[in-house]
């Protein structure tokens, strides 16, 4: 990956938070609904690590959060 500007750091932090949330809830679902509890537990652990790292990288005072709202792109989603 190229440069590591504050913007990139924020972006990476946000990405880790989102991936962390995804893994945590996916793992929780597997723990709750299947017999593969070890897999769910591992995913949850990975999710917690990613989420905490992302939260630490983007916590207020460390770096400014992305200031510009994302404009709605009329073609963002296929609407068929």
């Amino acid at each position: 990956m190229p440069e590591s500007s504050p913007d990139t750091t924020v972006m990476l932090g946000k990405g880790k938070r989102v991936v962390g949330t995804f893994l945590l809830l996916l793992g929780a679902g597997i723990v709750l609904e299947s017999s593969l509890r070890w897999l769910g537990g591992t995913l949850m652990l990975g999710g917690i690590v990613a989420f905490v790292r992302g939260a630490l990288e983007t916590r207020p005072g460390t770096v400014a959060e992305h200031p510009t709202p994302v404009a709605i792109d009329a073609h963002s989603e296929s609407r068929l």
């Binding site: 990405g15 679902g29 609407r79």
Partner: protein, 255 residues
């Protein structure tokens, strides 16, 4: 499938999941709203407000950047969506509604990212758009077919099949309208809304089943309510689109 009396562990775990979802969503959306207070908003719908849409798209930005930087082909994302929807169908069919719902939201996200990445790398092509439309239909249908397999011994099967039918008619109406030179992009429930309703509906329905069990003797009552509502609204959307196209075509003659 939850086919045993709920254990204390399951109940406590379900409460923890609910709490995590509520806290994470409220903190994240609250922080987004504070940062964007006063910014113009447009383009929302009954189910997804402009603020929620923008918050969602902002959270997708890192992945969009990642795909652009590492030259991930939009077609690869489309194929991943198809593979993901097959996994969703398997999860639903096996009664893993929480896992399936969460994966459904993920596959919907892949669908949003592939188009945005294609535009960023100037990789939008007619073939890509065509493939995307075909795979979207399969992905849409797979998730509902998984639910159909799960509810195969119940009257809910008919509601699920009705929802599948509605989803296909909604898409066909727009495709046919565009073929005739009209615009069919209207309606109460378009695809992102369908993903959100079904995804969160099955997630919270599954959690409710773990927490409170059957409601009035009906298992998965919340999930059933969501499916019936979805089937009704999707078909309403199909009719809404058909009426809109009918009116906009007026008395035009077929070439």
């Amino acid at each position: 499938m939850v086919d045993h009396p709920n254990s204390t562990f399951d109940e406590a775990f379900a409460i923890l999941i609910l709490a995590f979802i509520a806290i994470t969503a409220s903190v994240s959306i609250g922080s987004y709203r504070r940062r964007t207070a006063g910014a113009p908003e447009a383009g929302g719908s009954l189910v997804l407000s402009p603020g929620i849409r923008n918050w969602y798209l902002e959270n997708l930005q890192p992945f969009e950047e990642f795909c652009v930087r590492w030259h991930v082909a939009p077609t690869a994302l489309t194929c991943a969506q198809l593979a993901g929807s097959i996994v969703v169908a398997i999860c639903y069919a096996r009664g893993m509604l929480l896992t399936g719902g969460w994966l459904l939201l993920f596959t919907g996200t892949l669908d949003v990212i592939d188009g945005r990445v294609a535009r960023r790398i100037n990789g939008s092509s007619l073939r890509g758009a065509f493939l995307d439309s075909i795979i979207d239909r399969y992905a849409d249908s797979f998730s509902l077919l998984g639910l159909a397999a799960f509810f195969r011994d119940s009257w809910v099967l008919w509601a699920v099949l009705f929802a599948v039918l509605g989803g296909l008619i909604v898409s066909y109406t727009r495709a046919r309208a565009e073929g005739l030179g009209a615009d069919g992009r209207v309606g109460l429930l378009q695809r992102p809304e369908r993903y959100v309703i079904l995804g969160f509906g099955t997630i919270f329905g599954a959690l409710a089943e773990h927490l409170i069990g059957p409601i009035a003797g009906q298992r998965y009552a919340l999930v059933i309510l969501v499916i019936v509502g979805l089937a009704f609204m999707v078909n309403l959307t199909a009719i809404q689109r058909a009426v809109h196209v009918w009116r906009s075509l007026g008395d035009s003659q077929h070439a």
